[in-house]
Symmetry: C2
């Protein structure tokens, strides 16, 4: 029995290096859910093998900027000369169909979404310790010490933003973190504030 | 990793006949939790086989009334000449030890607790339909039609109080309802408002 038939907008966020993407992937491998990705829109060129609407929605810069003016993004950012954003209409359509739409975005993006969507569920993925986060950044092995140090300092600032989120999930193990997120989704659907409309309908039916 | 080391006070409530007790029993049969019952205090005589501190704390009427004056109950009620109540100090001690304390009480009791404990988690067990609730009341078979009708009308009024609770869990099947409550407990422990103190400690440790 599902009192709340609308899907949830789930924002998974946290500092860089914390393993947001890995946790999200583990989440999508679970059974018995209606989780869907939110596909971002970008102005960068498609790479080989990328399909419009699958990896990204690819649009021209003019169209993206037009959409910004029309407030058609949940959040967006510019990164090395290209725009990346979450198209509001696509997300809304998926939620209406009863899907749980998962946004995996950085802390800055999450703060933009927070301002617009009081109904979204904000989950902060935290490292077990700051030391652990530093190790994870170092293990990537593709960046210089300077870049790692810069990213680590950014992460330290981002980690202070956890209080803006509804939940803090420690990524001690990926499976554990994914379990907790599944529990959060389940619990959120049972929240009185989300179920009241469905509940009233149910009781009216019962009285017939 | 548990950021929130204190146990939760979980109030399971709902109209009479909805199956609160059955759901609670199913909950206690789950593995991997630290759920404990809250033992009520009463002024009624112990029945054969009942042990003080197990079924109830048995006290004299004078002691009970003294405790009422000292505001030592989370909630209490008088029922056919005897008092029944939830002793605050016992609940508090169990929470401090990290146990989740489950209170299974009626709607009137839950409203009393709501006023005193903003930190408690309030779960309303709802019937799938009102018809279903009526059937459950009839199936007990021990009461006259008049008593059943009275209980049903009371249940109809109680059901309107669901908006006072944090969560509404439909008792469509007992296992389903117990699953949802387990998810709620897990999610509540990850709430930022409960984890912030533990989170800060964790990060301080990490910086050493």
């Amino acid at each position: 029995m599902k009192l709340d038939e609308r899907g949830l907008l789930i924002v998974i966020s946290g500092p860089s290096g914390v393993g947001k993407g890995t946790v999200r992937n583990a989440l999508f491998q679970r059974e018995g859910h209606q989780l869907v990705y939110s596909v971002s829109m970008t102005t960068r060129e498609p790479r080989e093998g990328e399909v419009n609407g699958r990896e990204y929605y690819f649009v021209a810069k003019e169209e993206f900027e037009q959409r910004i003016r029309e407030k058609k993004f949940l959040e967006y950012a510019e990164f090395v000369g290209n725009y990346y954003g979450t198209p509001l209409d696509k997300v809304e359509a998926k939620l209406e169909e009863g899907n749980e739409v998962v946004l995996e975005i950085d802390v800055q993006g999450a703060i933009q979404v927070r301002k617009k969507r009081k109904d979204a569920v904000f989950i902060f993925i935290a490292p077990p310790t700051m030391k652990d986060l530093l190790h994870r950044l170092q293990k990537r092995g593709t960046e210089s010490e300077d870049v790692i140090q810069m990213r680590y300092e950014k992460a330290c600032r981002e980690i202070e933003m956890a209080y803006m989120y509804d939940y803090i999930v420690v990524n001690d193990t990926v499976e554990n973190a994914a379990d907790k997120i599944m529990a959060i989704i389940r619990a959120e659907h049972a929240k009185t504030i989300r179920t009241m409309a469905g509940y009233k309908k149910l009781l009216e039916e019962g009285k017939k």
